[in-house]
């Protein structure tokens, strides 16, 4: 089963960290949307997939990966705006199952559409030339692009944190997730905030897909398992908690990385075992507030 030396485990921790970053980006979007709107966005995996496809698309036309990395999440985010404005908005005030079913159906539509447009084989894209090689970390040669993924995620998280804690809009978002009725009573139009948050959450899914594309390729079903694992991250971290999404995302990445090392067959199951254990100890997740998910 392999030895326990630091030299053997360090590479696992690093590869797990990159997995965790993608989970964090997906989970934080899900959590943001759920926290404010109590909408379980099941189309998140499909939007992640579209992020990867749009990256290929923009890359083909502009030949700039950097531009694609910015534009693709914006396209996905805009798509999110449209979905909120024209589909989900109609379901506010109804049972939370309705938006869940709607977004689930939407994800099926998006996956099949992707197959129709781009084919069933999927598309490949390469990391930009500047990040094509591997960097020697002392204990292993690590792909430069994967380090870049860690860097981008950290930068996005810092930006998001500043947005939520330091801006007026951020203040409204936080207030709106605590007590939407009170915020409305103060004369604030929450509809616009919901629209914005849904767009940002979807844009983050698009970014996750754009970042994952050069590592995994783009194919129609790429989000199917990712969305489930991301929900696990959200539940473990605490529904609606942004800090929880970050901590749990990194944690689940490490669980996958370390379990793969010792017992690859169990890697998938371990994710759910961790969720079960966390929920037994803290039913609302690590950073969750009791009552929010009811």
């Amino acid at each position: 089963m392999g030895d326990l030396s630091l030299a053997a485990v360090l590479p696992q921790i690093f590869t797990g960290l990159v997995l965790g970053m993608i989970f964090v980006l997906l989970a934080i979007g899900l959590s943001l949307i759920f926290g404010l709107m109590t909408v379980v966005n099941f189309s998140h995996g499909a939007l992640y997939m579209l992020g990867a496809y749009f990256t290929v698309f923009v890359l083909t036309y502009t030949r700039s990966f950097w531009l694609a990395l910015v534009v693709a999440p914006i396209i996905v985010g805009t798509l999110g705006l449209l979905v909120e404005r024209f589909l989900i908005r109609r379901l506010y005030g109804r049972s939370p199952d309705d938006p869940l079913l709607l977004t689930f159906g939407l994800s099926l539509v998006l996956i099949e559409t992707a197959k129709l447009i781009w084919g069933k084989v999927g598309l490949t894209l390469d990391p930009p030339r500047e990040l094509a090689g591997a960097v020697n970390l002392g204990f292993m040669a690590f792909p430069a692009y994967r380090l870049f993924v860690i860097g981008v995620t950290v930068a996005v998280l810092i930006g998001l944190w500043a947005f939520v804690t330091r801006t007026n809009v951020g203040l409204i978002i936080r207030a709106g997730s605590r007590d939407p009725l009170m915020v409305r009573a103060l004369g604030i139009n929450l509809n616009r905030i919901w629209l914005l948050v849904f767009g940002i959450g979807c844009g983050l899914a698009g970014l996750a897909g754009a970042l994952a594309g050069p590592m995994r390729g783009a194919y129609a079903e790429m989000g199917v398992t990712m969305v489930i694992e991301s929900f696990v991250v959200v539940v473990v971290g605490g529904m609606g908690s942004l800090l929880g999404a970050v901590v749990a995302g990194i944690m689940i990445g490490q669980v996958v990385g370390i379990t793969t090392f010792f017992a690859p067959k169990l890697a998938e199951i371990m994710v759910f075992v961790v969720m079960a254990v966390v929920l037994l100890i803290r039913p609302s997740g690590i950073f969750g507030e009791a009552g929010l998910a009811e």
Binding site: Q12, M215, A267
Partner: protein, 356 residues
Amino acid sequence: MQRGAQLAQDELNGKGGIMGRKVEVLFRDDQLKPAVGAQRTKELIENEKVQFIVGGLAAHVQMAINEQTKKSNVLFISTSQSDEISAKPDTSPITFHEALNPTITSRVIGKWTCDNLGKKWWIIYADYAWGKQNNQVLQDTLKANGGTLLGSTPYPLGSAEFSAHLPKIQAAKPDVLMSVTPGADNIAFLKQVRSFGMDKQMKLAQPLLWIAYLKEGGPELYQDVHGALNWYWELQDSIPTAKKFVEASMKKFNMPPGDYGAYSYSGVMEVARGVELAKSTNAEAVANALRKSPTYDHFKGKQWWRACDNKSFQDLWIMKGRGPGKAKGEWGLADIVAKVSADEKYDRTCAEKGHA
């Protein structure tokens, strides 16, 4: 796959059909889902009154199709990679298997890899029926050839994320990294192996190369990746019937026939040959006729049906990705490294497959 069958249909009708009757091939999409495959098959048989079924890509879907054809007494030629389809209890006297199977491909690539690339292996395989079968055959073949297995790792099919597996494999320093990673996984796997620099430390091999993924992944990704193929269009340089087949395809579709197109072409042509021989469209009569004169040669050299299990035996080729700059046109992406002639020893024996 559809294109291959269309070529066969055109060719047969160009010659005036079978026994004066025109051949019509109907196409249905099984969506790689067993339930859909079964339903479409049922509709084809009951509503469209088709007399023969050819096709199937995913192994479990093909099994579902086979259940329907057996029930309705319709002859089925499977073009899917599977060990069970020609073995008891699933097979039947009217179930034929045109494609290769995990036993054959993994024995062939396994032995060739031991002889040519190295005897210290790590195997990584998709954790489902087809992946597990290949893994087992590869391990047995490695052992039989005096090789050492350093490790064998399952991964969940369709996960597309291999990075957590790679450091351990890298540390073990195998001569050969053998991967059983079908579909989009294949591209993700090779990308990640290369990004960790492992392509420079070990040889890469897999039971099969898939032309569609080879084309999508591109020459850089598949450079020096070894795998077997049932058919490759550049065989036209050495085989006259292959040249004819490629030319027909270029003319109609402006692209050479692919690996699965070749199976479906051959499958439809065999239905036609069987009907001509039997002078009947009755499933048993056609099946008996094919078993009575089992040898055929439609596009790549001699093939034959083994009488006990209706399994097709055929030549296959060991291929190697050509690499950037050496690709010939859009489809010339691999070099033929070796030809492995058809031989019944590569499959399990009739007795091993449950045929008395």
